[in-house]
Each structure stands twice: as structure tokens, then as C-alpha cells.
């Protein structure tokens, strides 16, 4: 499976929550996707405003139809332009990038917790689909700011038990993903997570499953491992020269591998 650059076609753009958009893309990149948690690097405009590509996780892949789904928050200049694309327009996309979540760490019949925060939720959906396919029981715990920003609750519910936490308590448990986990005390073989750093730190520190895998975010240049923009330190060598690149060694790491 290779990284390719392809001109993909926008099939659908839909606002699914406050500032959150779901986009379906068609192109050869879909054929190359290996694991949930991989991402694509999108050039949102032909000109140079903005200049750099935007990294966005692959939320789901439909290999038969050569389609990818991404879900993104429209905030800055690039994602705003992205949210305004209309079906039929094309996008220059590089991908699939990174290694994604290891799906072979849990056996059929085992239990996996998917813990997502905000815009970290999307890649967990594709992961959940894959795990279900493999016969793994999936428990999803998804954290958002407020009821208006909740998305994909039904989609996750179709994979298994799904819990929502919102900071302001307008939907589900008031508080964080960890509040749900602490309250419920699930028994799980593995925990996969993606979301803001404080959440990743709390999940790494807690003892929620036998193994934990975290997906990291970092500002990127190349997205392919050449520019050293996105490095993080290894936990066992916090002051040395060891490093991992989020784009090409990650974005998913085993808890304890890198300093977060």
C-alpha cells in the first residue's frame, strides 16, 4: 500500500453539528487505505492562500466505491474553504498517511473502548467498524463541549454501547470522557483514544484497559516524515535525541511510548 497524490472528487458535504462537517470524497486514495486512524493531507486551494495542506483523519472508507469519509471542524482559513466545497469540485489529496490504529491487538470476543474527544472522534468510527467486523465488542465514550457539537452518536450506537459526555452537561454525562469511564468502570482489553492532549494524558495515566493506544495531533509541514515538524519525544529518553514523527511513525502510539 502506497502513499499517492490524487485529485479526488467531492461527493457530498454535510453539516452534521455546530461547525462540524462530514465530507465524502472519491478517489484512488481510498484503495490504499490500510488501517483506521490513517489520515489524508488536503490541499484546500490551488493558490497559496492558505499555503499548507491540512491533515484530516479518515473517518470511514468504502473501498468498493473508492470513497472516503472525513469529518472536520470548520475553524480556520483552510477548513472554512473546505466546508464550502460543493459536490463535483475536486481536491488535491495526499494519502493515506501514517500508521493508524493496530486492530490486531484484540481478539474476537474481546472488548475495546473507543474514547474520543471532539474532533478526535472521527477516526474512532472507522476503527469501530473494523473492530465489529472482527467480532470485537465495542464500547464508545465520546466527549463534546455541548449538545450542539455532538455528532455521530447514532453511528457509534450501531456499533455498541455508546456514552456521551458534555462539558456543560447539555447531553449525556456532565463532564469528561474520564468521568464516564470512572463512573462505569468498564472491563476492557484495550482502549483506543483520540482527542485533546489533556484527555490523552488522563487516559494514559488512568488504568482503563490492559493496553491503550493514542492518536496524536501535531502541526505538520510535509506529512510524510521528511521535515521534522511533527516530532515528539520518546518517553524513555525525555532529554535525549530519540523521537517519533507523528505523521509517519504515528499518529497512533502505544501509551507510554511517547511523551505527551
Amino acid at each position: 500500500m502506497a502513499i499517492i497524490k490524487d485529485i479526488c472528487t467531492v461527493i457530498r458535504v454535510k453539516k452534521i453539528a455546530d461547525s462540524i462537517f462530514e465530507m465524502v470524497l472519491e478517489g484512488r486514495i481510498a484503495d490504499e487505505v490500510e488501517n483506521p486512524g490513517q489520515f489524508i493531507h488536503i490541499r484546500v486551494t490551488e493558490g497559496n492562500a492558505p499555503l499548507l495542506r491540512r491533515p484530516v483523519s479518515i473517518a470511514a472508507v468504502d473501498k468498493k466505491n473508492h470513497r472516503l469519509t472525513i469529518i472536520f471542524r470548520s475553524g480556520g482559513q483552510g477548513t472554512l474553504l473546505l466546508s464550502r466545497k460543493v459536490p463535483g469540485e475536486t481536491l488535491d489529496i495526499l494519502g493515506p498517511l501514517g500508521n493508524g490504529f493496530p486492530v490486531d491487538k484484540v481478539d474476537s470476543g474481546g472488548t475495546a473502548i473507543l474514547a474520543g474527544g471532539g474532533i478526535g472522534v472521527p477516526p474512532l468510527y472507522g476503527l469501530g467498524l473494523k473492530l465489529r467486523e472482527q467480532g470485537v465488542k465495542v464500547i464508545s465514550v465520546l466527549g463534546f463541549q455541548t449538545a450542539e457539537s455532538v455528532f455521530y452518536q447514532d453511528e457509534f450506537a450501531s456499533l455498541g454501547e455508546t456514552y456521551i459526555a458534555t462539558v456543560d452537561g447539555t447531553s449525556g454525562t456532565k463532564g469528561f470522557v474520564t468521568d464516564v469511564l470512572n463512573e462505569r468502570g468498564f472491563e476492557a482489553d484495550i482502549l483506543y483514544t483520540c482527542g485533546p492532549l489533556p484527555m490523552l494524558r488522563a487516559l494514559e495515566a488512568g488504568d482503563y484497559a490492559r493496553e491503550t493506544y493514542l492518536s496524536m495531533e501535531e502541526r505538520m509541514g510535509c506529512g510524510i516524515g521528511a521535515c521534522f515538524a511533527c516530532v515528539c519525544r520518546k518517553k524513555d529518553d525525555p532529554n535525549g535525541h530519540s523521537y517519533k514523527k507523528v505523521c509517519s511513525d504515528g499518529p497512533v502510539f502505544k501509551a507510554g511510548e511517547v511523551l505527551i
Binding site: 492558505p50 488535491d92 506529512g223 521534522f228
Partner: protein, 313 residues
């Protein structure tokens, strides 16, 4: 005859296009995307004597038409580069220009001595934008005498031609260029990044962990073109130009300004196929403009020898 060919000290380039240092690693990642043997040359990531981790993240930030970076010279150190990266690069028929950096003159000399002995290193690129620890962090490249001395010592230690990479963050780049020429430089590469900063309005703090960073990309092209134009008219060693090259047209603009070859930095991130695309497009562009070779483009814009009347804005 290869109409794209350019001959430079130590370097026979099958075309004038090469990736700029720090924007291409050691070529491994790009080699998975295309045949990197088609490049005119490769400027590899800076080598320092000891391995360096570099700066804390965030290390990059976007700006209008450009980007800031403060990677901080992360690299595995000269030994490891010679043991692992250069031998791997030998499979490609492409000359390597090894970018070297340091905090003291001794560092530079030592790296130059070692790395210039590698069989596929055809030239060194001396990055003089680095802060000199002995002078409290003032960059080697901002003082003519320091730059000349550093060049002289590195040149003496190097087994291959030495190109000095100029910093644009100076009052008089021609003065520095003449100094490094006097110091024995075989060529000049220019420009390195402009010092810049971005502040995040949410946090209220500089976006880069290092606060300042180097500005690169299309935004800086006019500054680079101006500097190449001025320097090329005042030195007799060749120049490899860079700063915001994103297309064959941009590359040609640098040649017209007086560069003999062109490096592509930031555009490799915008389009990882930037270098091969430009190489492919160049002959067509020459045709369109009725030009036959790259060589005849070099310095074409020099209207006359009159000195530049600097503008008072």
C-alpha cells in the same frame, strides 16, 4: 546536448532543480513517491557534529503565502548520516550537496572534514545562519569577517567545493557575499529564511514554541530575487537560488536574476511532486519563451551595469 544541463564547481547537474536543505530530509520519504534520481542534485538536511533533537513543538506555523519553521536543526549527527543516509543515497545517480551547521568554528570544520569524504557528497553547503555560541548567539552569517573566516577554515578542511548559504537577515548581503568569495567559497546558495514570528490570539503567545522562526515560501520570493540579482552582479562565483520557488516560472525568474541553479524548499510540502513537475515543465517553458538552454537564461535580467538606485519608500 541536454538543454537543461548546468556545470557548477563540483557539480554536473542534469537539470538546475534540486530540493533545498531541510525540506527533503535525506530523500527516503520522497523516494517512495518518485524516482529521486531525476533530480539535478539533493541538498540534504543539515548535519551537525553531534545529534540534535531540535526545538520543542509547535515547530511550524502558516503565514500569508508562507510558513515559519523552527525545527532547530534536528538531525542524527554527522556519523550516523555517513553511516546510514549517504550510503543509501548512493543507489541514485544524483550529486549530494551536504548542508553543514554548527555552533562553533571547530564544529563546522570537523563536520566538513568528515562529510566531504563521502563518495557521493559532491559539494558542501555551509549554513552560516546559525548562532555562534562564542559571540552570544549572533549568527555567523551576519558579520562579514566572521563569515569570511568560517568559509576559509571550512574550505581548507573540505575535500569538495564549498557553497556558502547566505542569511537574508542582513543589512548588506553583497558585503557578506563578497566576504565569503574572498574566503574561498566556490559558490553561494541563497537565501535562507527570513526571521519571523506569529502570535496566537487565543493563547496570547507566540505560536512557535521557539517564538521566532524562519519564514519561507512564495511570500519571500521577491526578497530572494532582489538579493540574487544584487549578489550575482557583484561576485564571480555561481549562485544556487532559492526562496519561494513553486513553479518552472519561478525557477526561471531566479535564473534570470542571476542564479545558475535553483532549489525548491517549502513547495515540497505543498506539492511533494514539485521538483519533478518543475523539471518536466522547464523545457516547455523555454520553448514558449523561445529560449534554447537553461544556461542562456542565467543573468538575463541584467539590464546594464549601473548600480541599483535604491528606492525610498
Amino acid at each position: 546536448m541536454n538543454r537543461l544541463q548546468v556545470e557548477l564547481p563540483g557539480l554536473t547537474l542534469k537539470n538546475p532543480i534540486m530540493p533545498a536543505s531541510g525540506c527533503f530530509g535525506f530523500g527516503r520519504e520522497f523516494s517512495k513517491l518518485y524516482d529521486i534520481g531525476q533530480l539535478g542534485a539533493i541538498m540534504i538536511k543539515a548535519a551537525t557534529l553531534e545529534p540534535r533533537f531540535g526545538n520543542p513543538t509547535p515547530r511550524v506555523a502558516e503565514t500569508p503565502g508562507g510558513m515559519l519553521n523552527a525545527i532547530g536543526l534536528q538531525n542524527p549527527g554527522v556519523e550516523k548520516i555517513m553511516a546510514e543516509e549517504l550510503p543509501w543515497l548512493q543507489q541514485f545517480d544524483v550529486p549530494i550537496i551536504a548542508n553543514i551547521a554548527g555552533s562553533t568554528v571547530e564544529d563546522y570544520v570537523s563536520v566538513a572534514e568528515k562529510i566531504s569524504a563521502a563518495p557521493n557528497v559532491h559539494a558542501l553547503e555551509l549554513n552560516i545562519s546559525c548562532p555562534n555560541v562564542k559571540t552570544g548567539g549572533i549568527a555567523f552569517g551576519t558579520d562579514a569577517t566572521t563569515a569570511m573566516e568560517l568559509t576559509r577554515k571550512v574550505k581548507a578542511a573540505s575535500a569538495v567545493p564549498v557553497y556558502v548559504k547566505l542569511s537574508p537577515n542582513v543589512t548588506d548581503i553583497v558585503e557578506i557575499a563578497k566576504a565569503v568569495e574572498m574566503g574561498g567559497a566556490d559558490g553561494i546558495t541563497m537565501i535562507n529564511t527570513l526571521l519571523g514570528m506569529r502570535i496566537d490570539l487565543q493563547s496570547g503567545e507566540p505560536l512557535l514554541a521557539n517564538r521566532t522562526g524562519g519564514l519561507s515560501g512564495p511570500a519571500i520570493k521577491p526578497v530572494a530575487i532582489r538579493m540574487v540579482y544584487e549578489v550575482s552582479r557583484n561576485v564571480s562565483i555561481p549562485i544556487i537560488g532559492m526562496g519561494g520557488v513553486a513553479s518552472a516560472e519561478d525557477a526561471l525568474e531566479f535564473l534570470y536574476a542571476g542564479a545558475s541553479a535553483v532549489a525548491v524548499g517549502t513547495q515540497n510540502f505543498v506539492d511533494p511532486f514539485a521538483c519533478p513537475s518543475i523539471i518536466e515543465e522547464l523545457p516547455r517553458l523555454l520553448d514558449r519563451l523561445g529560449l534554447s538552454t537553461v544556461k542562456e537564461c542565467i543573468g538575463r535580467s541584467w539590464k546594464s551595469n549601473e548600480p541599483i538606485a535604491h528606492h525610498c519608500p
